[in-house]
Symmetry: C2
Subunit: 340 residues, 2 copies
DNA sequence: GCTTTTTTCGAAAACGTTTTCGAAAATTCA
DNA sequence: TGAATTTTCGAAAACGTTTTCGAAAAAAGC
C-alpha cells in the first residue's frame, strides 16, 4: 500500500533519486536548500525506506539476532531468559536496533552461521543451554559476525566475547557465609562435571575452605545434575548414613530445593538441623519454606553488558575479545543458622 | 564471507540463474535430473539464499513482528509476557517463521504501520499495555498487515483479530465459588473503569450474583487500578468501617495481595475472617500466605491461538476477523473458607 | 577576464534474487 | 513424416535502494 518510494520523492522534488538518497542519509554534497525540500516532501508523503533494498547494498539491517534455549524446548525454559531478554532489548533498542529471535524450525541448513547470514543480522547474542551448546560448527559464527555469549560457552577456553556471573566469587561468598556461621562440614551439591560454571562454583567453595584452613574432602561433593530430583536422591542417600555435616551448599536453587525435600523426608529441619544455601536466586527462593539463602545473579546487568559489548563490536569500537564476570550477591534469608 | 550466490551455482551447474532459482524453489518446469544436480551443487557450495534480495521481490520475510509492553518500559513488565512469548515462538517457529521484536527506540516516525512496513514483517502480534494502547493511528496497522491483538484492544469494540481470556466466565466462576461457600456479601475489588477486561470481570461477578438471587450493591465495588497499593488503600478504608462482607474477589492477584496486606493490618485473618480470591494466577499466588485461590489464565494457550490465527491470516486461509476467548480455570488454594 | 577550486548534482552500476514470457528441444499424435 | 503439443530452459526486467565517479555550476583566486 505504502508504495511511495524514493523515486516518487525525486520526481516530486525535481531531482534525481541519488540526490534524494543522499539528502535522506545526510551526505554533505547536497545544498541545504534542496536537502530541506526533499526532507519536507518525504515527510509529507510519509515515505518509509525499504529496509530490504537498503540492506541488499549496505549489508546491514539494524537488527541483532538472538539464539536462546535448547533446540527442542524453544520457550523460556529458564527464568533467567526473560531477564536477559528484557535488558538486552532495552540497550539495543536505545542504540537503534531491533531484535530478531531465531525461532524458525524449518531451516534446511541449521548452522548458526547460515541462519545469521540468511537474515542479515548485524550481530548475535547466544544464550545456549543443553545440547545445542555443542554445535560443532559454532566457531564459524564469531569469525563472521560480531558475537557475544552469555552464561555458557560451547566449549571451555573458547576465545570469544563472553559474559557470565562470577561463579567462583559467588560460590566463595556462599561457602564463606556458612563458615562464618560456624559450619565446618559442608556438603557441596554440585552441578555436573562439564560446564565451566559448574566447575567454578566448586572452585569458589574450595577456595573458602582453603582460606579458613578447612581440608577439602572429596566425599563431600555430590553431583545433582542441576536437577531437583537428582539432588534429592543424592541428598537422601548421603544423609541416610551417619555423618557430621551441618550445612549444604547447592550450586543451584532447584537443587537446594531437592536437598530440602530430602531433608524433610528424613525429618531433618532446615535450618535447625542443617543449613542450606543455594545459587541463582530464582523467584521461588523468596517463597520456599524456609525462604532460601542464596547467591543472587545479576541477570539484568549481565544482559546489559552483553548487549553493550555487542554494540561496541558492531561499531568496531573495540577489537579485543572480552570476558566479563559480573559479581553476584549473597542474599541471606531463613535457611541458614549459626552453629556453635 | 559466504559469497556464494545463485550465479555461482548457475555457472557451476552450467545453467542460467533463473533455472537455479526455479530448481531451488520447486518450480515444475525443470527436468528432474538438472534439478537434482543444482540441489547437489547448492549443498556442496553451502549456498544460503539472501533473504533481502528475495524479500525485495516477494515482499515476504518469513518473520512476524511483535510489539509488547509500554513504550517506556520495554522489558517484560508483566509475567504474562514470557508465557505469551514462548508459545508464540513455538507455533510460528514450527511454521517456519522467525520473530522480530520491535525494540528500536530511535525511529523517526514511530507509527506501527511504518515500523512494520520498514522491516517487512509478514504479520504482527500486539500485546500492548499502558498508554501505548491508544496510539491514534493504530487502526492503520490491521488494514495493511495481518494483525492479531492479545489481551487488550486499543479501544473497545474494535473490529480486529483478538484473543483474550474469557474474563467474564472466569469472574463468574470465581464469584460462584464464593457463593457456593456460603458468602453473600462479596466485595469486588475491580481494576479500572476503562479496560474491557476490567469491565468483563465485574460483569461475571454480577452475573453470578444474579443467578443466585443476590442483589448487586454498587457500594461493594471498589477500584484498585490493578495496583497493590491502591487496592490496599481501598480495602483498608472499606474494612475499617462496619460491614458484613465475608469475602472479596479481586480482579488481579496483585490487588488480592493488596487487600490481604490491608486485612492483616486490620487483624483480620484470611481465610478465617474473610475469604479472598484473585485473578490471573501469577507465580507468587502459589507461595503467598495463605496460597491464593484465583482464576488461572491459560497464557500459553492464548499465545498459541493468537499465533495460529495470525498464520491463517498470512496464508489467507481465513478472511473473517475472529475474537476468541480462552476459558480460564478456577484454582482453589487456601485463601477461601466456607461460611454458615 | 580566465583559470582553478569547490560545491552541487545525476547517470549508472550494483546488491541477489524472482518471475514472466518466449523460444528451443523433446515428445506425442495422426 | 510432419504437425501439434508438451517439456525444459534462459533473457531480461523488476524489486528499491546506495554509492561511485564524473560533469556541470558556482565560487574563488589572480
Amino acid at each position: 500500500m505504502s508504495t511511495i518510494d524514493i523515486r516518487k520523492i525525486a520526481k516530486e522534488a525535481g531531482v534525481s533519486v541519488s540526490t534524494v538518497s543522499k539528502a535522506l542519509n545526510g551526505y554533505k554534497d547536497i545544498k541545504e536548500e534542496t536537502r530541506l525540500r526533499i526532507l519536507r516532501i518525504a515527510k509529507e508523503l510519509d515515505y518509509i525506506p525499504n529496509v530490504m533494498a537498503r540492506g541488499l547494498i549496505t549489508k546491514t539491517t539494524n537488527t541483532i539476532g538472538v539464539f536462546f534455549g535448547d533446540q527442542t524446548n524453544s520457550g523460556f525454559d529458564s527464568p533467567f531468559l526473560s531477564d536477559y531478554f528484557a535488558s538486552i532489548k532495552n540497550v539495543v533498542g536505545e542504540a537503534g536496533y531491533d531484535l530478531l529471535i531465531f525461532s524458525n524450525q524449518k531451516r534446511k541448513t541449521p548452522s548458526f552461521k547460515s541462519i545469521c547470514y540468511e537474515k542479515g543480522v548485524d550481530g548475535v547474542i547466544l544464550i545456549l543451554t543443553g545440547k545445542r551448546r555443542t554445535d560443532e560448527k559454532i566457531h564459524e559464527l564469531h569469525e563472521i559476525f560480531p558475537t557475544v555469549y552469555i552464561d555458557s560457552l560451547p566449549f571451555n577456553k573458547m576465545k570469544v566475547n563472553f559474559v557470565e556471573s562470577d561463579n567462583e566469587l559467588g560460590a566463595y561468598e556462599a561457602a564463606k557465609h556458612l563458615i562464618d556461621l560456624g559450619h565446618r562440614n559442608i556438603l557441596k551439591m554440585a552441578g555436573d562435571k562439564i560446564a565451566k560454571s559448574s566447575f567454578d562454583r566448586i572452585e569458589g567453595y574450595k577456595q573458602a575452605l582453603d582460606e579458613f584452613g578447612i581440608g577439602f574432602n572429596e566425599d563431600l561433593v555430590k553431583y545433582g545434575q542441576y536437577s531437583r530430583e537428582t539432588a534429592y536422591e543424592e541428598a537422601k542417600e548421603f544423609f541416610s548414613r551417619p555423618n557430621d555435616v551441618t550445612a549444604v551448599f547447592a550450586s543451584s536453587d532447584v537443587m537446594a530445593f531437592g536437598v530440602m525435600d530430602a531433608l524433610k523426608d528424613l525429618d531433618l529441619k532446615v535450618p535447625d538441623d542443617v543449613s542450606v544455601v543455594g545459587f541463582d536466586d530464582i523467584e521461588e527462593a523468596k517463597y520456599s519454606g524456609p525462604p532460601l539463602t542464596t547467591v543472587h545473579q545479576q541477570r539484568l546487568e549481565i544482559g546489559e553488558t552483553a548487549a553493550n559489548i555487542l554494540l561496541d563490536l558492531i561499531q568496531k569500537k573495540d577489537g579485543a575479545t572480552r570476558h566479563i564476570s559480573i559479581p553476584p550477591q549473597l542474599v541471606t534469608r531463613k535457611s541458614c543458622k549459626e552453629v556453635m
